[in-house]
Amino acid sequence: MKLTLNIWRQADAAATGEMRTYALDGVSEDMSFLEMLDVLNEQLNAKGEEPIAFDSDCREGICGTCGLMINGQAHGPEVTTTCQLHMRSFKDGDEITIEPWRADAFPVVKDLVVDRGAFDRIIQQGGFISANTGSAPEANSVPVPRDKAMRSFNMATCIGCGACVAACPNGSASLFMGAKITHLGELPQGQPERDSRVVNMVGQHDHEGFGGCTNIGECAAACPKEIPLDVISQLNKDLRTALKHGH
């Protein structure tokens, strides 16, 4: 198939970027979206032009490294990551606009690559439990109800790709924080730091310049791991509880 690609080009973090148009022929519908970009980059290389920079790592939809705004949708039209999106989701002759995640907390490093260090710093503020290392404890000494274990596990599937922020009209990272809060908060091991976790994570989130949540729901629709909006309710509830406890 033949495509017209409008792609954001930006030389580095300090440069002013612009949209540039590329024509690409011979795209197979079995290619992944990133393979399609690889083909374009080979052609740019052959012509001696600077290839388009984009992030990718596992290309299996499990690491959260890749992430592009494709025709105004985070990770494109399917509920999956950019690397697991295939060209069969597009038609011959399509015009595709590709932009980096837009959020001031995710500054563009180059072309389609953004710096998501803000997420790392939110995690540093509470996305962990403090546990003694050494010999493993007896597994049955800390019972976990099945429904809590399942909910915790489902929220732990968040890969921190940033699609929620990219899709949110307010540029909020509430879905990301909600997933982490719920993942750890459902388990007994997450309880000792429960109050400080939510306060420190939200404090860092606000400091990074993310917006506040208005419960619009674009984040959950864009999430490749289908994290539901419930986790934002959980986040709000944990913050309210911490407020009550005087944190």
Partner: protein
């Protein structure tokens, strides 16, 4: 390969975060003040429907609002307690909305060339301008019926029922009020669900669905209930 500037800002970890100073606390304030308003508009709508019971019944209700609780309370005592509460709620609601809207506008200074809305409702995307519309309407509404008592047909203003009928006998006045009710209905549709979510009461898919249904019910009952009186005045069912 040209060198690329990869470091964009000095990353800092915040120390000493306080729950009370987070954006979520602002949202909780917005939700709590919004729930005060839902209670108010429900009561207000109930009072308006007294118009269907006729001139005397409506005016007696209006008068009784002022003598409520007498002699334990002074004249207009309860009314002022409610008014002060509403003014406080309004200041909290508008101030937190302003702070959050400003923050959202700086969170993405470089806009997308193409952006699609995948799942958001119209009401959710019109909260800010809808809120401003309701605020502007509120100013006119208070001038119309409470503070100045402007009778747009030029008649007497000392009789609440007659002032209301005179107002809604003008088709363009009825339209202004109906437009305001559309804005209110949209605001309540998203606001009710959003408040419940912000207060952390929608932790399961079923609870989320209930909160969304509550948004529909509150919006239709309140905006619909308010719209009945102006419409029926214009149609001549309610008249002097």
């Amino acid at each position: 390969m040209t060198p690329v500037a990869t470091h964009t800002s000095a990353p800092t970890l915040v120390k000493g975060s306080r729950a009370a100073r987070t954006t979520i606390t602002l949202k909780i304030l917005m939700a709590a003040s919004g729930i005060v308003f839902i209670g108010f508009v429900l009561t207000h709508m109930y009072g308006n429907l007294k118009a269907f019971a006729g001139h005397d019944s409506f005016n007696e209700y209006a008068h009784h609002l002022r003598t409520f609780g007498e002699p334990m309370l002074p004249y207009e005592g309860l009314l002022w307690v409610v008014r002060v509460g509403l003014i406080v709620a309004l200041v909290v609601h508008v101030a937190s909305a302003y702070a959050l809207a400003r923050r959202a506008s700086t969170a993405r200074t470089q806009k997308y060339a193409v952006k699609k809305n995948a799942s958001s409702s119209i009401s959710s995307r019109t909260m800010r301008w809808g809120g401003v519309t309701i605020l502007v309407f509120l100013v006119w509404h208070l001038l119309n019926f409470t503070i100045v008592k402007i009778n747009p047909s030029g008649g007497a203003t000392n009789d609440p029922f007659n002032l209301m009928v005179d107002t809604f006998d003008l088709w363009w006045m009825t339209i202004i009020y109906l437009v305001a009710m559309v804005a209110l209905g949209l605001h309540l549709h998203h606001g009710t669900w959003s408040a419940l979510q912000t207060l952390g009461l929608t932790g399961t898919a079923a609870a989320r669905q209930r909160a969304k249904t509550a948004g529909w019910v509150v919006a239709v009952v309140i905006a619909g209930g308010f719209s009945l009186v102006p419409l029926f005045v214009l149609l001549g069912v309610i008249s002097k």
